[in-house]
């Protein structure tokens, strides 16, 4: 077999994530500094799986109150009315308003849950040393990374609705306790993506090719 696939780690080289320079640590050392940009270098992000799991579990826990607690409370002369994210989607649904309702449904409910499931899938397959579907898994990682920020839409919707609708005593809108947990889900899943090292997806297949060669 031809040794076509060689990774930097297999040759003892470290790639700088900041400036992209390849360099060689002194013999026997696992950690060095990039000679160009001074970044601390390791072969893989340190404790990537543990840190990603920690953020992800935190996000999954916050996901429950984020969906059960109200994100907005509307007070009118007739009384106060609290809405969760899902109730907000339903309220927005009308013959003319349905595209926006769909945006909020996708950004606030589907994306966060899909993100948590996708990251868990990536973590589990890496931990099991899977060598299958690498192309699909790296594409999934990139999609999660690209799409994650859009979950913030609902935070902005609620922020500016509350800031604007202050027409006491006619009507006022205040943010609810669910907003904090929802924002926490967005931030924690973004941190989880940042701490995941996509090179881990390929490490099992690289190791297998060396063994077979």
């Amino acid at each position: 077999m031809s040794p076509a696939v060689v990774t930097a780690m297999q040759l003892g080289l470290q790639n700088c994530e900041v400036c992209g320079l390849l360099s060689r640590p002194p013999p026997g050392e696992e950690e060095g500094r990039c000679p160009r940009c001074d970044e601390t270098l390791e072969f893989r992000k340190p404790r990537s799986l543990e840190r990603t799991w920690a953020y992800l579990i935190g996000a999954a826990i916050c996901y429950i109150p984020a969906n059960l607690l109200p994100v907005l409370t509307t007070t009118t002369a007739a009384g106060a009315d609290s809405d969760t994210i899902l109730q907000g989607v339903v309220l927005l649904w009308s013959p003319t308003g349905w595209p926006l309702s769909l945006i909020v449904l996708i950004a606030s409910i589907m994306i966060p849950s899909a993100k948590i499931l996708a990251l868990a899938y990536l973590l589990i397959t890496v931990q099991r040393g899977s060598v299958k579907n690498n192309e699909q898994r790296i594409r999934l990682y990139r999609m999660v990374k690209f799409i994650g920020r859009w979950s913030m839409v609902d935070v902005f919707v609620d922020t500016f609705t509350a800031a604007l609708v202050q027409l006491q005593p006619l009507m006022s809108v205040e943010p609810g306790p669910g907003l904090f947990f929802f924002a926490a889900v967005v931030v924690l899943t973004m941190l989880a993506v940042e701490s995941f090292d996509p090179r881990l997806i390929w490490d099992s297949v690289s190791a297998r090719e060396v063994r077979d060669a």
């Binding site: 696939v5 930097a8 080289l13 470290q14 790639n15 994530e17 900041v18 400036c19 992209g20 320079l21 390849l22 360099s23 060689r24 640590p25 002194p26 050392e29 950690e31 060095g32 500094r33 990039c34 000679p35 160009r36 940009c37 001074d38 970044e39 270098l41 927005l92 926006l100 945006i103 909020v104 192309e135 790296i138 920020r149 859009w150 913030m152 839409v153 935070v155 902005f156 919707v157 922020t159 500016f160 609705t161 509350a162 800031a163 604007l164 609708v165 202050q166 027409l167 006619l170 009507m171 205040e174 943010p175 907003l179 904090f180 924002a183 940042e194 996509p198 997806i201 390929w202 690289s206």
Partner: protein, 230 residues
């Protein structure tokens, strides 16, 4: 737990065209690209390098325009409403401020970070980078800006905020007359400028010319030696 980081620098490779893919660690050789050309990883298809045409000048022009629009967007009203003779307006900052006063400090801080602070850093860092990178040998602090620019971009969410504001606008339109403010249109233009900056800047070009950390340290050590012996 504090980690003690290595104090020594790695040894660079003599062959500068050898790179590893950031997404799969595959070693490969970068071809010499024509301006506008791009190279992708042969294993995972990640873009390794895209050489931009006239990168520094274009990025500078776009960054200057973005800085002007940013200042305008944050100093004029973004959204207003009018109902039974009463009017109310809010700015970008006003949204975060109202949340803070309502006792949602954490969410207010997040809105401030993603809608005000990170975009400012994203534009400011880029201006610093392209201005200093015009020198023959860009100074070391350009590297610091280059390193933090991607973080600022990750947390800068102008385009997401704009979508959120549009949804809020339609929601409120059900029971009040909404008045789109000047900032709304300025922010719309800013989204395109930020995308343009992303599409015209080539970090590799700047990294290739920057002063190395290692040589800076050696120069510093040489200075100290010279001082000690004089």
């Amino acid at each position: 737990m504090t980690r003690v980081h290595a104090s020594f620098h790695n040894e660079p490779l003599s062959d500068g065209s050898l790179v590893a893919c950031l997404h799969c660690d595959l070693l490969q050789r970068l071809p010499d690209l024509a301006p506008g050309g791009s190279a992708r990883c042969t294993r995972c298809d990640k873009e390794l390098w895209r050489r931009r045409e006239d990168s520094l000048n274009r990025t500078l022009a776009l960054s200057l325009a973005a800085a002007v629009l940013y200042v305008i967007a944050n100093s004029v009203p973004m959204l207003g409403l009018s109902v039974v003779g009463r009017q109310a307006f809010t700015t970008v900052l006003g949204g975060a401020e109202h949340l803070w006063e309502d006792g949602r400090q954490m969410v207010a801080a997040l809105v401030f970070l993603t809608a005000v602070l990170a975009p400012a850093a994203q534009i400011g860092f880029m201006l610093g980078i392209v201005l200093a990178a015009r020198r023959e040998r860009p100074p070391r602090w350009v590297g610091t800006l280059l390193r933090h620019h991607p973080t600022a971009s990750t947390w800068s969410m102008i385009e997401v905020m704009l979508l959120g504001v549009l949804v809020a606008l339609v929601k409120i339109a059900d029971y009040a007359t909404v008045i789109p403010g000047v900032a709304l249109f300025v922010l719309g233009a800013l989204v395109f400028l930020l995308a343009g900056i992303q599409a015209s800047f080539d970090p590799r070009e700047v990294w290739d010319r920057i002063e190395w950390a290692e040589s800076a340290r050696q120069a510093g050590a040489a200075d100290q030696l010279a001082e000690a012996t004089s």
